[in-house]
Symmetry: C2
Subunit: 100 residues, 2 copies
């Protein structure tokens, strides 16, 4: 198992546009078990992402998927900054249905 | 939707014992949609937790469940520190099956 927990900061006023692009890009990614996109009540420009993948290789391969490449291309100009960003090893838990 | 993303630091050598206690405590929590417990390759004492709840009230109510109260009682002596810790609003994503 391979995980990522990270914060992304959008340019002012661009957060929801960036979330919409991310949400399209994450459909149908092989090996992706959980992908949660969340906003932050304490920071109107922040987006928190938590990902759980079968393996690190599945995550790396996802970056070559046409939908993901397209999301990166369209989303990048809206991003003011990345981080903190942590690689994790998911070891326990449950995820029972769509998160949103 | 209500979410939490947080880091917990165990006393040296106590991380896996703390994870085992957490993993028992989180079974059968009403309104809990996703609960991911992960370790951190860069910090042998760290535990990262990502939670998705139907509402903040479901999360608050969970703290009174006997299994959760028991986990808190047994886990607290193993915890060296909490944080960073962020409340979130999950807005998109997918979670398809058990995370571990």
């Amino acid at each position: 198992m391979y995980g990522l927990i990270g914060k992304m900061t959008a340019h002012p006023g661009k957060r929801d546009e960036l979330i919409a692009i991310l949400s399209e890009g994450i459909r149908d990614m092989p090996g992706c078990q959980i992908y949660i996109v969340a906003t932050d009540p304490s920071d109107p420009d922040a987006i928190w992402i938590t990902e759980v993948w079968q393996t690190k290789e599945h995550h790396q391969a996802s970056l070559q998927l046409p939908a993901v490449r397209d999301a990166i291309t369209r989303g990048r100009p809206l991003i003011a900054g990345m981080g903190p960003y942590t690689e994790t090893i998911p070891v326990a838990g449950h995820g029972v249905r769509r998160a949103g």
